[in-house]
């Protein structure tokens, strides 16, 4: 995809989800750092995906004149990574719930997705935050949801006190989840526990990031505060919050259920903090 004289190089690194953290730490982070040090990278975007099999999508924005060289270099670096760690291509056995078979694990494929964002700072900041925050432990759905909750709560905290339109918006879009919440096994017995956990996460964010192991949120915090400074009214603030939600869904590969829960969790916190503010 060509944008303003630059090229987005889109590659998909196919690997088991349980290997994603290792891939982030040992391959993706060093390769991105190398490209940045060489001045070859204008921006980048990382996305977790299940399209065509479990994979991490990476979009690299490079100058058009460098596209061939960078693509070749990145191809070599990823293949070298797989070789060095004895990660041989693995073809899954069927049947599959799709018309086409998934791509083999431990391979890199090109051009399976496209992006036309031009240097989106929030998207890049989220990518850096994903690398910093998710590279240490095996990634699973719960971890992705918790990570998203931290990001979204941090955004909300920066916007407090909540404007009426934000309260109304989240109240409306979580109504369906709210009505059916008791039907989810996860919440039957743990509703109070969950609210406490959400509150803990929210309170965690009051501390300096380096004191409670949340240093990985730094990139996102800076980028979001910058973006928020440009939002002059409550509608623009809400738009920014919705954009963040969209980025989390897209880049973390959240399914509709997880995305609905994320909005529900935010609504819970909004309601709690609104009550507290009103009482005070």
């Amino acid at each position: 995809m060509e944008v303003n004289g630059n090229n987005w190089l889109c590659l998909s690194v196919f690997a088991k989800k349980s290997d994603w953290h290792f891939l982030l730490m040992v391959a993706i982070k060093p390769i991105l750092t190398l490209l940045e040090q060489k001045g070859e990278l204008i921006s980048f975007k990382v996305c977790f995906s299940h399209f065509g099999g479990e994979n991490i999508g990476i979009a690299l924005l490079v100058k058009r004149s460098m596209a061939t060289r960078v693509a070749k270099e990145v191809d070599f670096l990823f293949k070298d990574f797989f070789r060095r760690h004895d990660l041989i291509p693995v073809l899954k056995e069927g049947p599959f719930e799709s018309v086409f078979m998934p791509y083999p694990q431990n391979t890199v494929q090109y051009g399976l997705f496209s992006t036309n964002d031009y240097n989106s700072q929030l998207s890049e900041a989220l990518s850096r935050t994903m690398i910093d925050g998710l590279a240490e432990d095996k990634i699973d759905d719960e971890m992705l949801l918790t990570f998203s909750v931290y990001i979204l709560f941090l955004c909300y905290k920066a916007m407090m006190p909540a404007e009426v339109n934000i309260v109304e918006y989240y109240s409306a879009c979580t109504a369906a989840v709210e009505q059916n919440i008791e039907t989810y096994d996860l919440f039957k017995s743990k509703h109070n526990e969950l609210n406490l956990t959400l509150r803990e996460i929210f309170n965690d964010l009051d501390q300096p990031f380096n004191k409670n192991g949340l240093h990985w949120l730094s990139h996102w915090n800076i980028a979001y505060l910058n973006a928020l400074a440009g939002a002059t009214n409550c509608f623009e603030q809400l738009t920014l919050l919705k954009k963040t939600e969209g980025l989390l869904k897209e880049q973390l590969g959240l399914n509709d259920f997880s995305h609905g829960l994320l909005k529900y969790f935010l609504h819970q916190i909004i309601v709690q903090t609104r009550h507290e503010t009103q009482r005070a």
Binding site: L9, G53, A71, G94, F100, Y103, Y110
Partner: protein
Amino acid sequence: MLKNIVENKDYPNLEFVLLDYNSQDGLEDWAKQTLTPYIHSGKLVYYKTYDPVFFNHSHAKNMALRLGSGDIVCSINADHYIGQRFANFVNAVFNSSPKKVITPIPKAYYQLKKTHPPSGSWGKVCVNKDDFIAIRGYDEKMIKYGNDDIDLINRLELYGVKRYNIKKAEYCSVISHDNEERYSSKERLNNVFKVYIKYLSPNRSEIIFLFKNKKYERFVLKDEAESGAHNYQTTYLQKKYHYRYTIEDFLWEEGRWEQANSIILLTYGAGFDQKLVSTKSIKESEFYELSNTSLIDELSTFNYTQYNLNMMRKNLNDKKIQVNESNAFGSGVVYKNFDRKIGIEL
């Protein structure tokens, strides 16, 4: 129909041909009640054929256009409006040069744009009857949905006829309806007995449809958007394809199937070539029987819409001008103006 007649009444040398393709929805009664004055004045001729059991777009259009007595014939679908003074417009275009085909289908028909006429109007075609006969009409092998009109225009162009695109919106007006009315998914799914799939690569799968009428269809489905994904160059080089999903090498095998114990026998051609699919030793043969109903539905729609498309692409690839070589086209017996005594053989 009535609107079309009224809006073009000022053009004297115009004949409307209404072909009743063994319609079961009361068309004949409606025509008797409504169109008799036009039949008596010679403005309209009503023909009926009792032969067809299923609707075949290409055959029906071939019949209707062969029945037209004018120098220029226009194919107008039942859901088309032709617009005010359309006949005058057609006459003017052909007076300037007779070697033309009037069509709403844009040259780059595979890249739909908002400025293009609605695809529901694409069936409208006006052509010199001699040219239509020379290329032997619509391809009657196209027995499923769509692309028969695109194929006709392609072959006319190969024959040296120039495309003249209709731009006026009024001439491309249609009665809108959804895809379910175009091709009923229920009916299609009812005909499917089983679907087998063999995964060849992440962008190629071999599909076998077994139908309840003991016919089968077999093809390799290809996702062009993902071809060459292993090559890093595909990340910065523009991919060139007109259709994302295609049939590999245009090969769409058809034949009959039968089951003997756990073996499914596929027979095609003259019976010399036989292929085996084992239902029991699925792993050995690498074919999986699909059980996911939404996937079967998706593939069944694909099958229905790709069949003609594949044939159209093959004709274009082969630079084929004439079709229906082995048999007459638009053939059958028709009866004129409700007279069931004298059949006209086409």
